[in-house]
Symmetry: C2
Subunit: 332 residues, 2 copies
Amino acid sequence: MAVTLADVALRAGVSITTASRVLARSRTVSPGAQAAVERAATELGYAGNGVARALRRQRTDAVGMVVPSIRNPFFTALVDAVERTLQTTGRVLYLCDARDDVEVEARHLRSLVARGVDGIVVSPCADDRSTAAVVEAAAHVPLVQLDRHVPEPVADWVGLDDRVAMDLVVGRLAERGVRSAGFVTASIANSSTRERAAGFADACARFGIRTDPRWTVPAAFTIADGVDAGARFVELGTDRPAAVVCADDLLAIGVTHALVAGGLRIPEDVAVTGLDDLEFARYVTPPLTTVRQPTTRMAEEVLRLLDRAPSTDRTPGVRIALPPALVVRASA
Amino acid sequence: MAVTLADVALRAGVSITTASRVLARSRTVSPGAQAAVERAATELGYAGNGVARALRRQRTDAVGMVVPSIRNPFFTALVDAVERTLQTTGRVLYLCDARDDVEVEARHLRSLVARGVDGIVVSPCADDRSTAAVVEAAAHVPLVQLDRHVPEPVADWVGLDDRVAMDLVVGRLAERGVRSAGFVTASIANSSTRERAAGFADACARFGIRTDPRWTVPAAFTIADGVDAGARFVELGTDRPAAVVCADDLLAIGVTHALVAGGLRIPEDVAVTGLDDLEFARYVTPPLTTVRQPTTRMAEEVLRLLDRAPSTDRTPGVRIALPPALVVRASA
DNA sequence: GTGAAAGCGCTAACAC
DNA sequence: GTGTTAGCGCTTTCAC
């Protein structure tokens, strides 16, 4: 059996309460008792029981995070930022990977709630199909959405201003004299894909850039799907647009790969843009012109919202859209 | 306040015990009571309290995992594999990122132990400096090391047969007629770096490939450090080796980038090899020749060891080295 | 088949 | 400053 507070107290010759007080630093204790308890604890290898502690205190000092896919470097960057920020408050982060599956996502959400985390940060993998689970979780514990969000304003959200992002990208293309552009995105319905598609269309209209339904290629947020999409543009021959705007960097990396394989020069024959600014973006050939997401800033805002006292104005559905920054490299 | 079992029982008109039996499916209950409890539970939105449950049952059905860096795609691939395997047993995985910091690693390990996870999977970021924390955690809960391991045989380990991996890579180079090779690795002391360096040296000796201290470049497991290392080889001019063997794919990607930027042709002027077979490895220019780690197999073995009944022969320090597979692409 | 009661290990009143 | 007492919400004997 694991050693308990009672064991420590017994050995130190004090009451359980006193032992608790020194080990949890909750109140001042006489130097003698202090020393005795500490000594007994180390001698016994006392590790504490966080489960009992959590049950009694009704809090765990842990926050849960659920991301659509841990294989997507953008989300790991986000996780990294959240962890780093969280660490300053002495809490730990439990990360769960939904693996792009709403069922798995729902399971993780329920599990985190049941485990009594003090808060949840989630990027719901799919719009409406994620809604029920997010609403359910939000009913039990403070929850804020990061990057993606479900349609209804059931919980706060922090993410990128996708409209501005698309504006920056398309504006850059216009500046280069591009007059026609295609769009590659993930076909799954979620807030990111929707906003970016709409933003792309608007921006093209504004800058007088021609678009065409045949140039809108649905995929998933993976390099492999980007390769497939890129191949489609190669097949198009001279009917292809002067640029391909991608909804994220993974797709752009794949598209780039396929276009180059198809013998096209980037950006001379086709310009390519991404979105995220992954670390890899600068190491592909040619280096990717993209838009950077302010992940650190996002993490800070998310935790600020999460820690908002429940008493203060809990207007649910606060939306914080952070501004992106254009990163010009060689691809466009 | 959250709704408890008592609330459900009250509303269903049964005892707490009966409600518990229905909700935990622990014993058969009369159909009437069964229905009443289930109805009351949904009406009240009962979510259960995993903390109380865990305290009483002395288990959490959760396993913790600590990786050196979530920014390294190899570890996320590993996490993915472990999660996928774990899911089949109905348990959840809590992932912690040590961010290459032994202090953070130790904190996470302690936190997981205190939180009563049923098991821990850890890839210790640094050899000896990780030992104390790993030993401490292993003393409290079943623990197995994955990929990296601390020097002492304090806990089981599952990983790659690094010697064989280096043999495959160097053998491939020899096959191509390479007669001299440099080595780029992370300078931090851990089992992976040590084994791979030794394996490289041995294999070169066996295949009659010349090495040189000046060609051994220490770095960290990042693309950026690979770029720096690659630049060093460019500076070497004609003194450079005919091949650069990298201890992982991130380094190889960076080295490739720098060599190309330096005007060298790969593999004609310099061959480059990696290790891991990240998804990204096939999309760099030129596609990377590397060695694949059997992540799925690793995950299975890790969980098998973790779930070994404590009663059975607990010979600590079982080491399972899985065989790698050479993946030949254009870079070597 | 059902319920009363004990208790997992800890913290927080509340006395002293 | 210290200890006694009463739970946190649940599962599990043990009677009925």
